[in-house]
Symmetry: C2
Subunit: 458 residues, 2 copies
C-alpha cells in the first residue's frame, strides 16, 4: 500500500503502533521506520500494552489490539489534519471478515463486511477510514511485492491456528473451496451486493429514526411504540439495534435474541411494564405524557438499569406555595402551563365534560369553594375522592398507583388543591365534590398545556 501510494504521487504519513505482543515487535517497528525513511516519508510510532488493556477491558487480544490501533491511527490523523486513515485490508481479509460474521450469526450489517470507504466510522465523524486494497487478493499483493523487490515483514502469529481468524484462513476456507473453488470470490461479491442493500435499508432506518425517537437522556432513550410498530419488521429490527447501540456503543454484535426480546416486549407488554434486556439494559413501557387525546399512547424506554429515567417530560412541581389565580395562569417547569378560566355553566358544558377525551383538560364547579387554590405536589396524608366515588376517598398515593402514573413522576406530580381538598389530578381525574351538576353556578375550566419544551429532549 505504501509503495503504491508513493508511486501514485501521494505522500502519506506512516504510522505504526507497536502492540508489544511478540518478541519481534521491536525489530518490526524498526523495519517500518527504516522503510518510511527510505521513501523520505514522515513517520510516527506509538506503543501500547495490548495484553494489559485486553485484561482490563475483558476483550480478546485481537479486539483489544484493534481498538488501540485505530484509536492511535485516528489520533495521529487528526493531529496531522490527514484526509483519511488508509489501511491495507485485502479481498482475503474481506472474505474472512464475512465468514467470521456468518459463523457468529450476524445480520446484514455484519454480512456486508468492510467497505472501501467508511464515514462516519467508530473513530471519527470527519476522517474516513479507507481500504484501497479491499478488491486486491493477498496473492496479488505478494506478486506486487516480488515485482517491486519489496520484502514484507512476515507476522508469524498469522500461522498460529489458535487464533480464530487464522483458523478460518488456513482451515475453513480451503475446506469450503472443495465445495466451490470460487467460494472466496462468491463471498467477496456477496459482501459487495449486500453493501448496496444495507445502504438502502440504512436510508429508511435513518428517516424512521426521527419519527420514533421521542426522548433521549444519559443512559436512556424513549421510543414511540406506535410509530415503531408502523414500520415493517425489518426496519423495526434495525431501529432497535440502533437504540441499543446508542446506549452500548462498545457492544460489537447486538444479538438476535436481544432484538427479538424487544420485539416481543413491544408486541405483548401492556404499560406499565419493565423487563431485563441485555448488557445491563432494561425495557420500560409506560404512558406517554404527551398523550393529550387519551388515545392510550405509550413510551418505550430502553435504559441502563442504573440510569434514572428523566421525569423532565412530565408535568412536575418542585416548589411549594404556588397559588393558582382563578381566573389566571401559572407556569410550571418543562414548558407546562396551567390555566383557569371562568366559563358559563350549561347542559352543553356538562356534556362536553363527560365526553372530553383530553385528560389534561377538566371543568369543575366552584360553587362552595372560596379558594385560595394552589398547585402543589402530594403531601403525607393527602386523600383524594375521584369522580364517581360519592362516599369514600383513597390515599393519593394509591390513586396514583392504580392509575399507573409512572413511579418517578408521582412525587412531584402537580395537584390543584384547596387546602387539603384535591380539586384535580391533571392527566387523570377531578375530585367528586367538584363535578359539574345541573345546579352549578360557577364553572371553571382547568387546563394544563405544554407550550414549550426546555427539557432533555434530543
Amino acid at each position: 500500500l505504501l509503495d503504491a501510494l508513493q508511486a501514485l504521487g501521494f505522500s502519506p504519513v506512516v504510522a505504526h503502533l507497536n502492540h508489544q505482543l511478540r518478541p519481534e515487535a521491536e525489530e518490526e517497528a524498526e523495519k517500518v521506520r527504516k522503510f518510511a525513511e527510505g521513501y523520505g516519508l514522515p513517520h510516527v510510532e506509538g506503543r501500547e500494552d495490548v495484553q494489559g488493556f485486553s485484561r482490563r477491558e475483558g476483550l480478546s487480544i485481537e479486539e483489544a489490539g484493534r481498538n488501540l490501533r485505530y484509536r492511535f491511527l485516528f489520533e495521529q490523523a487528526e493531529l496531522r489534519n490527514a484526509s483519511g486513515v488508509l489501511v491495507a485490508h485485502t479481498a482475503d481479509d474481506q472474505v474472512e471478515t464475512v465468514l467470521m460474521h456468518l459463523l457468529r450469526g450476524a445480520g446484514l450489517s455484519g454480512l456486508k463486511g468492510m467497505q472501501f470507504r467508511t464515514l462516519p466510522n467508530a473513530w471519527s465523524g470527519e476522517i474516513p477510514l479507507i481500504r484501497p486494497l479491499l478488491g486486491v487478493w493477498r496473492t496479488e499483493v505478494l506478486a506486487y511485492c516480488l515485482e517491486r523487490g519489496l520484502e514484507p515483514v512476515f507476522d508469524v502469529s498469522n500461522l498460529d491456528s489458535t487464533y480464530y481468524r487464522n483458523r478460518l484462513r488456513h482451515e475453513l476456507i480451503p475446506y469450503l473451496e472443495q465445495f466451490n473453488p470460487g467460494v472466496k470470490e462468491s463471498f467477496w461479491r456477496m459482501a459487495k451486493v449486500l453493501q448496496g442493500d444495507y445502504e438502502v435499508i440504512e436510508r429508511q432506518v435513518e428517516a424512521a429514526w426521527e419519527a420514533i425517537l421521542v426522548q433521549a437522556a444519559p443512559g436512556s432513550v424513549a421510543l414511540s411504540p406506535e410509530a415503531l410498530l408502523k414500520e415493517p419488521v425489518g426496519i423495526q429490527r434495525h431501529l432497535i439495534r440502533r437504540a441499543i447501540a446508542r446506549l452500548r456503543p462498545g457492544l460489537r454484535d447486538i444479538g438476535f435474541e436481544a432484538i427479538e426480546k424487544v420485539l416481543d416486549f413491544l408486541n405483548t407488554a401492556r404499560s406499565p411494564a419493565q423487563a431485563d434486556l441485555v448488557a445491563g439494559l432494561r425495557l420500560v413501557l409506560e404512558k406517554d405524557p404527551d398523550d393529550r387525546a387519551g388515545e392510550g399512547k405509550d413510551r418505550l424506554w430502553i435504559a441502563a438499569w442504573e440510569a434514572e429515567l428523566p421525569a423532565g417530560d412530565w408535568p412536575q412541581v418542585r416548589e411549594t406555595g404556588l397559588s393558582l389565580p382563578v381566573p389566571g395562569r401559572l407556569k410550571l417547569p418543562g414548558g407546562w402551563e396551567l390555566e383557569a378560566r371562568d366559563v358559563p355553566p350549561s347542559e352543553d358544558l356538562q356534556e362536553r365534560a363527560r365526553e372530553n377525551p383530553d385528560p389534561y383538560q377538566a371543568w369543575v364547579s366552584l360553587d362552595s369553594s372560596p379558594g385560595p387554590f394552589e398547585v402543589r405536589a402530594r403531601q403525607p396524608g393527602d386523600r383524594f375522592q375521584p369522580l364517581g366515588f360519592s362516599d369514600r376517598s383513597l390515599k393519593i398515593s394509591d390513586f396514583m398507583i392504580n392509575q399507573k402514573l409512572p413511579r418517578r413522576a408521582r412525587r412531584h406530580w402537580p395537584l390543584v388543591a384547596e387546602g387539603d381538598q384535591i380539586l384535580w389530578v391533571p392527566g387523570y381525574q377531578i375530585g367528586h365534590p367538584y363535578r359539574l351538576t345541573p345546579g352549578t353556578r360557577r364553572a371553571v375550566s382547568l387546563s394544563l398545556k405544554r407550550t414549550g419544551r426546555d427539557g432533555d429532549l434530543d
Copy 2:
C-alpha cells in the same frame, strides 16, 4: 406434518408424486397411500419420469424433481380448491438451503432462505406455499414420530454424499459446528432476520419498478435508464434482477456478473449500443421515442437475441398514398398524429424555429411548394438535403444511420414529402430548401404528436 395436521383438526388431501428414481419408489408410494387411508384422508398419486425430464431440460435431477413435484402439487391444489400447499421442510432444511446459496454466492433473495408462507410463489398467485415445520428441527420431528409411534419412510438417497445437499448435511455442517456449535441456529436466525430486510427492499423495488418500466413486449422489456440511475445502487441491482427474471423465469440464480454487466453498460454505454448479456439475452440502449424535449433521454432494452424489439412505440407509417392536407391533420398508427397549420411568418418565428428543442415540431416555408404533400415511408433512391446542407444531399438511409435512428424503426419512419422532395424527417431535421428565411411568405407549422397509445405498452 400429516399426523400433526390431523391432530389439530385439519383434513388435508394427501398428494404424493412418484419420482420413479429409486427401486423402492413403488413401495414407498404404496406406504403413503396406506398411511392416508389409515387416517381416512383423501389421497392422490402422480408419477413422472424425473430422469427423462432432467435430461430433456438440462436440469440436475434434484432441480427436475423439484419442478415436477411442485407443478403436480399446485395442479392438485387448484383442482381441489385447496387453501394452501403444505410441505414439511424443517429448520435443518432451511439451514442447508441457506448454506447452498451461500456457497454459490447468492444475494439477499437467496440468503433469506425459505419462508413459512410464500405468496405469490413460482407456481401460483393465489395458493400459498406453506411450510409449517420450518421452525422445527429434524431431531424434533423424529422425537415426535417416536412418541406417536410413527415409522417414517427413510429415503436412502439421503445418505448418498454424491448429492450436493447431502454433502452439506453430512460433512459441511458438522465441520462448521467445530467452529461454532450453534452454527445451525445462527444460520436459521440469519435467514429470519434477512427475510425482514428483503421485504423492506422488495417494497421499494416494487414501487421503483413502476417508474422504470417503460415498455414490455414478448421477449423484451424497456427500462428508463434515467429513472434507474436515480435509484440507490442496491435497488438498481434488484430492478435489473427483476427484469432478467421476467424474461428468463427459469433462471434460478441470476448471477452477480450478469447484474454488474448491466450496471456497467448502463453507466458507460452511449446510445445506440448493443451488448451480450447472459442466457441468450442482450442489452440495447437507444433513444427514447417519447423524448419530446430533446433532453437526450434513452431507453434500455433487455431482450432475447431472437426477439424483435417492438417498433410500436415509434411513429411508423405502413400505408402508401397518405396525403397530408395543409392545413389539416393525419392520423398515424400507435396514437401518433401529424398536424400542418399555416402560421404568420415573422422574425420571431424564425428565432423560435432556431431555438426549438422539440424534434417533433418544425416550421417550413412553402413559398415555392404547390403540393400535394404526402406522408410516406422511405423509398429506394430517396435522397435528403438536411438543413445546413446548402449544396448537397445524401441518401435518406445514410441520414437515418448518421442520426442513430433505431434500425428497426427506419423502414417505416414517416417522412413528409412533396413528390421525391423530402420536407421533413420528423424527430430529426427539415429539408434545407424548406427552411424559413427573412423573405418567407407562407410559413407552415408541422408537428407530430402522440395523442394516445394503442401499442404494446405494459
